[in-house]
């Protein structure tokens, strides 16, 4: 079974808080004292990948998620591959 890990690189994080804003399950939290984004609720992650999409510095990474990928790479398939729609899977 996939062992899923979500990690956040504090050195890359610019505290734009976009991930806190966009996560539908409140996985991220902003700590007012340390001024850091923390992963407070990792269990609730449903792998929608919106945080990955919005994070401009690539500070967030989610590893071990099974996802779909297209069979052939065509210009039209690109977006689908990122979001994962076609019935071929791989482990990232």
């Amino acid at each position: 079974m996939p062992k899923i890990t979500i990690s956040l690189d504090e050195t890359k994080c610019i505290r734009c808080l976009d991930c806190v804003e966009v996560c539908p399950r409140e996985v991220f939290d902003f700590d007012d004292k340390t001024k850091n984004v923390t992963i407070s609720n990792e269990n609730e992650c449903i792998f929608c990948r919106q945080c990955l999409e919005l994070c401009s510095t690539g500070a967030i990474s989610i590893d071990g998620v099974l996802r779909w990928k297209p069979k052939t790479v065509s210009p039209f398939a690109r977006k689908e591959r990122i979001l994962g729609y076609y019935p071929y899977f791989e482990i990232i």
Partner: protein, 592 residues
């Protein structure tokens, strides 16, 4: 004194909320050459239910009408009247039938229109194959709206409507990022803020679904309609370390529901309720779609389940809550037994892979997963007619904020509300000028916000904590199984929150201020839900009362509405306008 700045906007049509309904409304109004402002309290489209549609409303836009209603318009409509807009829901004969008729007629056409707006495949990934299933619909729509010249503003939290007499002339809010107070004057206003799922602890919706639209409309003295009609899906994971999320269908392929004793209780339930069709099978060794008529596979050629075993998903969660209620559950849950799934089974569909992701490192080969019902959506909302009009002039409703749910509903009502709002703004509405009274009212609102910002932090006033508290209370006392006693308790607890916690509500900055506003809205909506549920003294479909276990068509072919009168919540009833099919009076269907 308001310490941030104030910004004013002027527009023809203001659309609050940027899900499918909001975007459709904005585009439609812009097409009618109106100035349109589209605001959202978070990122545009990103926090809407339609973005996660596959996971939220099983009626994600389908290619054509839902598979069950594939015959004719009459057939479609008949089913809608008897069961509700979506298969799997059950609130017979309570729906606004005119609205339903419009839906049945317009659904395919409105869906085809999406192609004109750049949506390549106007069908969400059905039944939660992946999260973000609305992506391919919403992002092209947003792009189209922007290209057409809709003025879109993200992170503007609108919290009240400006009223002048009986007309809504705009709304007030604040910028979540920099705290600027925002006044938007509009000739007509469309509320498309989505649902109130978050008042319950267990939900698959995004956490911004706090019923802001309903609360705003209520405060502007608009009636809220049938707030007690909300539904759950039973396959919500409840295992420590796993997300409390809906398990997609693909993963349940060979699964079996079991109670704490290990019995496959659905078999018994089906037999008891005489729900077994001629071609159906009840052997637990058969794949779930064949046994249980799983709607995602209804029309699939792969699975020859022509005869539906159960025609309504409500039976699954009814059976589950019954098991738990009768003491055959484990800490409030029943089990989903997936031990007979093989590794390959999971990879047969997208839902399977997503299900495997959700299960993470849970040992499903040897253990049963705890599952518990999970709120997925609601029918109730702001009272509206089929054109999206409300009680107030200049105020329109679209999508889940109004009556009904599901994405095809958002698509149709969004378009219709946008059109009627545009007509209003072009021909009927006067210039939205703020008088002395309105200015004073706005100052009052500013002071209210400032008060929240000035308060000192205290444990009672923590918005996150209060949100959690509301969720717990509502799920415990006004959850899937209701009783008069429980609902009264819920009301009492909510009253306690209103008296003890709300006066201490604090926010450190504008970002937290949004949470505080959400809490205020949630308390109000939760009360409306509990009061309506208390008033409906029968069991009807998704509304299950333990103290009134029978459906009562004689007395309760009525909608329950709540309205503000002199600062109090008044409950009143309105008979349902049955224009299509009349149920034979006194037909009693036993609830659970």
């Amino acid at each position: 004194m308001w310490k941030y700045g104030t910004i004013e906007h002027d527009t023809d049509v203001l659309v609050i909320g940027s899900g499918l309904a909001g975007l459709r409304a904005a585009i439609e109004a812009k097409k009618a050459t109106c100035d349109v402002i589209l605001v959202d309290k978070s990122f545009l489209t990103r926090m809407s239910n339609s973005m996660y549609a596959g996971l939220v409303g099983s009626g994600a836009i389908l290619e054509g009408p839902p598979p069950k209603h594939e015959y004719s318009l009459e057939h479609t409509f008949e089913h809608m009247a008897a069961e509700g807009v979506d298969p799997g829901w059950d609130y017979p004969y309570l729906e606004n039938e005119k609205l339903m008729m419009v839906l049945a007629v317009e659904m395919p056409g409105r869906q085809a229109e999406l192609r004109d707006y750049g949506v390549q495949i106007p069908a969400g990934e059905r039944y939660g194959v992946t999260p973000l299933s609305g992506y391919r619909i919403l992002i092209p729509l947003l792009n189209t709206a922007m290209r057409m010249g809709v003025k879109a503003m993200a992170k503007i939290c609108i919290f009240d409507l400006i009223k002048k007499g009986n007309r809504v002339i705009g709304a007030v809010g604040f910028n979540v990022d920099n705290g600027d107070f925002v006044v938007i004057r509009a000739k007509s206003t469309i509320i498309a803020t989505g649902g109130y799922q978050k008042i319950f602890k267990r939900t698959s919706s995004t956490y911004r679904m706090t019923g802001d639209g309903q609360a705003m409309a209520y405060r502007a003295s608009c009636p809220l309609w049938s707030m007690e009609i909300w539904g759950v899906d039973m396959v919500g994971l409840d295992e420590p370390g796993l997300p409390k999320m809906w398990m997609p269908g693909g993963g349940r392929l060979k699964g079996c529901y079991r109670n704490a004793k290990g019995e496959a209780y659905m078999t018994k339930y089906f037999k008891e309720h005489n729900l077994v069709g001629p071609n159906a099978t009840l052997s637990v060794d058969d794949p779930m779609p064949i046994r249980f008529d799983w709607p995602g596979l209804q029309s699939s050629k792969k699975y020859p389940c022509h005869q539906y075993l159960v025609d309504n998903l409500i039976h699954f969660w009814t059976a589950a809550v019954k098991e738990v209620h009768e003491g055959r559950g484990d800490r409030g849950c029943v089990y989903l037994d997936l031990t007979r799934n093989t590794e390959e089974d999971w990879f047969k569909s997208g839902g399977g892979v997503q299900g495997l992701n959700l299960l993470r490192d849970f040992d499903w080969k040897n253990n049963w997963v705890h599952i518990q019902p999970l709120m997925i959506g609601h029918i109730g909302g702001i009272e509206m007619d089929e054109e999206g009009r409300t009680d107030l002039k200049g105020l329109y409703v679209a999508g889940e904020a109004g009556e009904g749910h599901a994405m095809h509903h958002a698509n149709v009502t969004g378009a219709r509300a946008g059109r009627s709002a545009a007509i209003d703004a072009t021909y009927l509405a006067p210039e939205p000028k703020l008088g002395v009274e309105e200015q004073a009212w706005i100052e009052e609102k500013k002071e209210m916000l400032q008060e929240i910002l000035d308060r000192k932090p205290s444990p009672e006033g923590d918005p996150k904590e209060i949100k959690r508290l509301i969720g717990e209370i509502m799920w415990k006392y006004a959850g899937p199984l209701k009783s008069g006693e429980g609902l009264n308790k819920a009301l009492k607890e909510l009253e306690k929150i209103r008296k003890k916690n709300l006066p201490n509500l604090y926010a450190k900055n504008s970002r937290r201020l949004r949470e505080a506003i959400e809490v205020i809205n949630m308390v109000l909506v939760a009360e409306a839900v509990a009061r309506s549920a208390l008033h409906r003294t029968e069991t009807r479909g998704v509304h299950k009362r333990l103290d009134y276990p029978r459906r009562d068509d004689k007395n309760w072919l009525k909608n329950v509405l709540v309205k503000e009168e002199n600062g109090e919540m008044k409950v009143y009833i309105k008979p349902v306008e049955l224009i299509w099919d009349r149920p034979s009076p006194g037909v009693a269907k036993e609830g659970c």
